[in-house]
């Protein structure tokens, strides 16, 4: 059946065909049984008549006497026809009645020993039997008897008519019932459809009440709700990201525009022009960098950042980064400490970038005199890299949002330095996910710990990086 037919149509059709099949079967069985019963009745009647004829013959003294006697007897049996033969010679036959010539053969071949035949107007059942008379020694006699079964035929005809009509009607009724049942049974589907139609991008918090549906569909409703929840989360994140993006771009563009236009409004000295252009260049670089970071994240979202896989000793990478950050840390009077060993199977540059972002972050928020520790723990299953710094605790409520794009724990701190676009942690997270790893953060009583875990399994092909 074509999958484009509606469920109601399919169920109705199925129900109709099934009912028709059952009803036709039942009707046929009834008709056949009754017909067979009639045949049996006729057989008994025919045997009876043969027996009667034989008895009469036994009492007959001459052929003339036989005829008289049989005429007498058969007179009262309407629709009964008898033919008595000795060889080819007919001793007696009912007047105006013609038996089929091959009566003996018909009888032998017939079901239940009852032969049937039809003339133009009538239908008959008959029987042929050989009888040996005790006194007549020469040739055996044959008695043929036949009954007009017009009344049976008539009955059967009416019966079959009635049956066919009934079957047809019952099938129609069954189909209608099936349609009704399917329609009612599938009503929850339509309800679900109506519910689903109410869900739009603006109303993603609409839910399908799973308890209002039959068990089979409650599961589906729950699954759909789960899907909606995920969609809503992603959607919210995306809308927030877009509005953040617009906001993040608006500020520097506004600065650039104002600055440039104010500068152009009157003649300046060369030094002033140079100063403005340099300031613009810095602002442009910040914008370019933000765009590059966002593109990196967009690619990560689509699983397009393909980490090359080589075995990397995390300790070496951290050491290289320590060398890089050494001067900055000293300037800020922050101590860097590195401990532990561990390997990660992944992309050297990306790994370095992930760790670099964490370190840069840690240096920014660690007060002078405190220390930042990078602890590496590697075993057969994977490697954990913890970046731990002392400093003001982060509000527990803000922790899960720390990896969100453009999120800054301190909203008032606006771009004091060029790296404060708020994308660093998102990038770190994207990189960790691209390596099938996990990243988490905790911040308790002045100690903040970012923990990256990289499983030691090989990375194959493109990876989705959006799952949390």
């Amino acid at each position: 059946m074509n999958s484009r037919y509606s469920l109601t149509t399919r169920l109705t059709a199925f129900f109709t065909v099934a009912s028709a099949f059952v009803l036709v079967g039942l009707g046929s069985l009834v008709a056949i049984s009754i017909d067979r019963h009639f045949v049996e009745l006729d057989r008994d009647a025919l045997r009876d008549k043969i027996h009667l004829t034989r008895e009469v013959m036994g009492k007959a003294t001459s052929p003339q006497d036989l005829k008289t006697r049989l005429d007498d007897v058969l007179h009262s049996h309407e629709g009964l026809f008898v033919n008595v033969l000795r060889g080819q010679e007919s001793l007696y036959s009912t007047p105006d009645f013609q038996f089929p010539g091959n009566m003996v053969e018909l009888t032998l071949r017939a079901r239940l020993g009852v032969a049937s035949w039809q003339t133009q107007k009538h239908a008959y059942r008959g029987m042929a039997q050989s009888v040996s008379m005790p006194d007549a020694s020469e040739m055996p006699l044959q008695i043929w008897v036949a009954l007009d079964i017009a009344h049976h035929k008539h009955f059967m005809y009416s019966l079959i008519q009635a049956l066919v009509a009934y079957v047809a009607l019952a099938t129609l009724v069954a189909g209608a019932l099936g349609w009704w049942a399917a329609k009612n049974g599938l009503a929850p589907l339509r309800t679900m459809r109506t519910r689903a139609m109410a869900i739009t991008a603006q109303r993603l918090d609409e839910r399908i009440p799973s308890h209002a549906f039959p068990i089979e569909m409650a599961d589906l409703a729950t699954t759909l709700n789960e899907m909606l929840r995920r969609l809503k989360e992603e959607f919210d994140r995306l809308s927030e990201f877009s509005s953040d993006l617009a906001h993040e771009l608006r500020t520097p563009i506004n600065n650039l525009m104002t600055q440039t236009q104010v500068t152009l409004s009157q003649a300046r000295t060369t030094a002033e022009y140079q100063d403005i252009l340099a300031s613009n260049a810095e602002e442009y670089q910040r914008l370019a960098r933000m765009v590059a970071d966002m593109l990196f994240l967009a690619k990560a979202d689509h699983g397009l950042i393909l980490p090359s896989t080589e075995r990397i000793a995390v300790h070496d990478e951290a050491s290289a980064l320590f060398e890089f950050y050494e001067a900055l840390a000293e300037e800020k009077q922050v101590h860097l400490r590195l401990s532990g060993e561990g390997d990660v199977c992944g992309d050297r540059l990306m790994l370095r970038r992930a760790l670099s972002n964490l370190l840069s972050n840690a240096i920014r928020y660690t007060p002078p005199g405190e220390q930042i520790a990078v602890e590496i723990q590697g075993d057969v299953h994977g490697t954990t890299v913890n970046v731990i710094n002392q400093g003001p605790s982060i509000d527990a409520q803000l922790l899960p949002r720390l990896f969100d794009r453009f999120f800054r724990a301190d909203k008032s701190r606006k771009q004091l330095d060029s790296d404060g676009a708020g994308l660093g942690l998102s990038i770190t997270q994207a990189i960790v996910h691209a390596h099938r790893g996990r990243i988490s953060v905790s911040s308790i009583s002045g100690t903040t710990c970012f923990s990256m875990y990289f499983p030691s399994t090989k990375i194959v092909g493109k990876l989705p990086t959006t799952d949390a």
Binding site: Q274, D275, L277, A278, S279, N280, A281, E282, Y284, Q285, L287, A288, R289, V291, A292, D293, L295, K299, L304, I305, L306, A320, E323, F324, Y325, E326, A327, L328, E331, L349, R352, R353, S356, S360, I363, D417, S418, D419
Partner: protein, 226 residues
């Protein structure tokens, strides 16, 4: 040095040509891939800056045709798209470098100079000198005005880079990548701090400052004009 710029974006092309001319290059500009290919085959350019998205014949095709004709001059790709596949494709086709828009001109200039410098280290210098500053690569020693200056390993590397490329404006990203191997947008404060410390040792005690900050672009080490 003769450079061919193939860029269809009018403003970008004009500014690139101006920038390279002012940086002392002989720069030609064409706007289509077909013209670019023609020009590259006629002229004797030392390097081609090739935009990927060009009308008619794109950057890939131009590069392919060039290489097929046996033209081996270095090619630096500029592109607005940054797909890993693109990068790999470009490098497979024989591009020498790859820069994603928006890029800073200082970065482009520095990379072009890096490419052009390749393969011409005929005379290996052992001592770099700018004004009264001397850097001895073999003895790992720095002397300014006859006085020895002690530097850390990374500071030495930083100074070496600045001196090797004296007179060139080096953007922070290039410095981070060349000195520390940070080939990504890293914390640019680090370069600032490192540079400040280097200056404290090299310049602070002297009247003539050799290291200059070029705002919005980067740093340059050069002997001041007399």
């Amino acid at each position: 040095m003769k450079i061919l710029i193939v860029e269809d974006e009018i403003k970008t092309g004009e500014y690139l040509r101006q920038g390279f001319r002012e940086a002392g290059f002989n720069a030609d500009l064409v706007r289509t891939g077909v013209d670019g290919l023609h020009m590259a085959q006629e002229g004797d350019h030392d390097l081609i800056i090739l935009d990927v998205m060009l009308p008619g014949m794109d950057g890939w095709q131009v590069l392919k045709s060039l290489r097929r004709n046996g033209q081996e001059m270095p090619v630096l790709f500029l592109t607005a798209k940054d797909h890993v596949d693109d990068r790999i494709k470009g490098l497979e086709l024989g591009a020498d470098d790859y820069l994603v828009k928006p890029f800073s001109f200082a970065e482009l200039l520095a990379r072009v100079r890096t490419i052009l410098r390749r393969g011409r280290n005929g005379t290996e210098v052992t001592v770099l000198q700018v004004a009264d500053l001397e850097l001895d690569l073999l003895r790992r020693r720095i002397i300014r005005s006859g006085k020895r200056i002690d530097l850390t390993a990374k500071e030495f590397g930083l100074l070496e880079l600045l001196m090797r490329r004296q007179g060139e404006i080096l953007p922070r990203s290039l410095i981070a990548s060349q000195v520390w191997g940070m080939n990504f947008d890293s914390d640019s404060n680090v370069v600032e701090v490192a540079m400040r410390r280097l200056r404290a040792k090299i310049d602070d005690a002297y009247d003539t400052k050799l290291i200059q900050t070029v705002r919005g672009m980067g740093y340059v080490l050069e002997a001041p004009e007399v």
